[in-house]
Symmetry: D2
Subunit: 145 residues, 4 copies
């Protein structure tokens, strides 16, 4: 399972909630998007992106998300959610998410998000701050060391 | 069905979401608490409690909630959520919620919440503002007219 | 607003729940995926796809979903969720979803899902049943009449 | 913190999801009811109540739930959810739930549920099975040893 997440510098573990299974008896499709978000926010915490936002008014906004469902997850299980930033563009980050089931020992879902950098004070897109860019490069580089 | 909600001055309709059924094939117990909240907030909108809060820093905080489950709801269905304020105490409101299933034509759940009035600026409980008290009396009285 | 949904043969209305806004004070990104699902299931009801599944064991499974966020929705509001089936492939349906905010009078989100037709009894993909294909063509054709 | 949960034979840890905070910037009241459920189902797993249900058709149904909110939880945090069965009545279990915040080192919420034992095959209440009663006594006794 380690192998499935070795390219992901940030990984969080989430226990599957019984109540998040739907009438088809497996975790509802919507819940994976929540798993993605939880993983993504944990990565942003490591970048101190939320702290940066409070100081400057410049922060993330989700532009789009996609998810490919690979294997149904059922309770009881725990998932590991890996997140990596695959690309830094001028005003946005391309973020990869991967959900791995501990019980199945395989990828349950994966998907890509586009996170736009937004200047909430001036209400327009902003460049990815240099400070954040460097932290991302450290995070992503660390993984390859 | 009208009869089941005739004592409730505020009623909202919510379509049941298929994805909110759980592995037991009926709406998950947690969702009823969301129905209660949605009904309660609609009542508070009619009191302009949120507007009052923005102006004064004095607003509602949920102290406790209870729910008795009476009949399982299944998709497809629509529920009507009735809310009434059963009692105004010095620093709190006693709120009754009732969820009625259109398909079953009966009460699916009901419960009581205690909403404490809180002064967010001074971080302590506050008296129920006179202005709000009068609006509640109008709402609750209107129903009896 | 009618214009924004004129290509969508199935449209459902959903009131926005206050409690589904997140700490950024607008409806959380995950909730739009639930809106998509609710709209999609309503379309499937019109196809009697769930009834077909009970009879034959052949039913839908979500292969992937995507969502582009266009405008943030806030409480109070109501959204209309339009769904159309843009393409019928041998063993899958390409489904378009569009969420329109009544308050903003514009598209809040849209996205595409791939729904695979699955034979749950034999645990493998199946062809889109002719019966279902005809109903889809009726639904989609009706819109153009 | 250990002390706060020493009377609870079953405890699960759940990381707080950022997206489950609401517009008031703390975990939405509804989410605590999900925490309760997750803790309760974990206890039932230890009783093998779900296995018993598959074999006999006799299983749990939630009759009522209550929650007192004591301290607001915010992301990032982890909660421990303790569950104990306070009383075994002829056809029901009285279940206590307690949610402890790791960050606050105090009780964030607690509440009581009534779980009715239901014979799903004959569609009526049933006595708490002896087998289950003994397992509960072991669980609850173990804690006192």
């Amino acid at each position: 399972m380690q192998d499935l997440l070795k390219d992901y510098p940030s990984v969080v573990e989430i226990p599957v909630a019984w109540g998040e299974m739907d009438a088809f008896q497996h975790v509802n499709n919507v819940v994976y998007i929540r798993y993605f978000e939880t993983g993504r926010v944990a990565y942003f915490e490591e970048l101190n992106l939320m702290g940066y936002m409070e100081k400057t008014g410049i922060g993330p906004i989700l532009g789009s998300i996609s998810c490919r469902y690979k294997a149904p997850v059922t309770y009881p299980d725990t998932v590991s959610v890996g997140v990596k930033i695959a690309k830094i563009e001028s005003d946005r980050l391309i973020v990869h998410h991967r959900v791995v089931s501990h019980k199945l020992q395989r990828v349950a879902a994966e998907g890509e998000g586009v996170v736009v950098i937004f200047d909430y004070r001036h209400n327009k897109k902003a460049a990815v701050p240099e400070e954040i860019k460097h932290r991302i490069q450290e995070m992503e580089g660390a993984r390859q060391a």
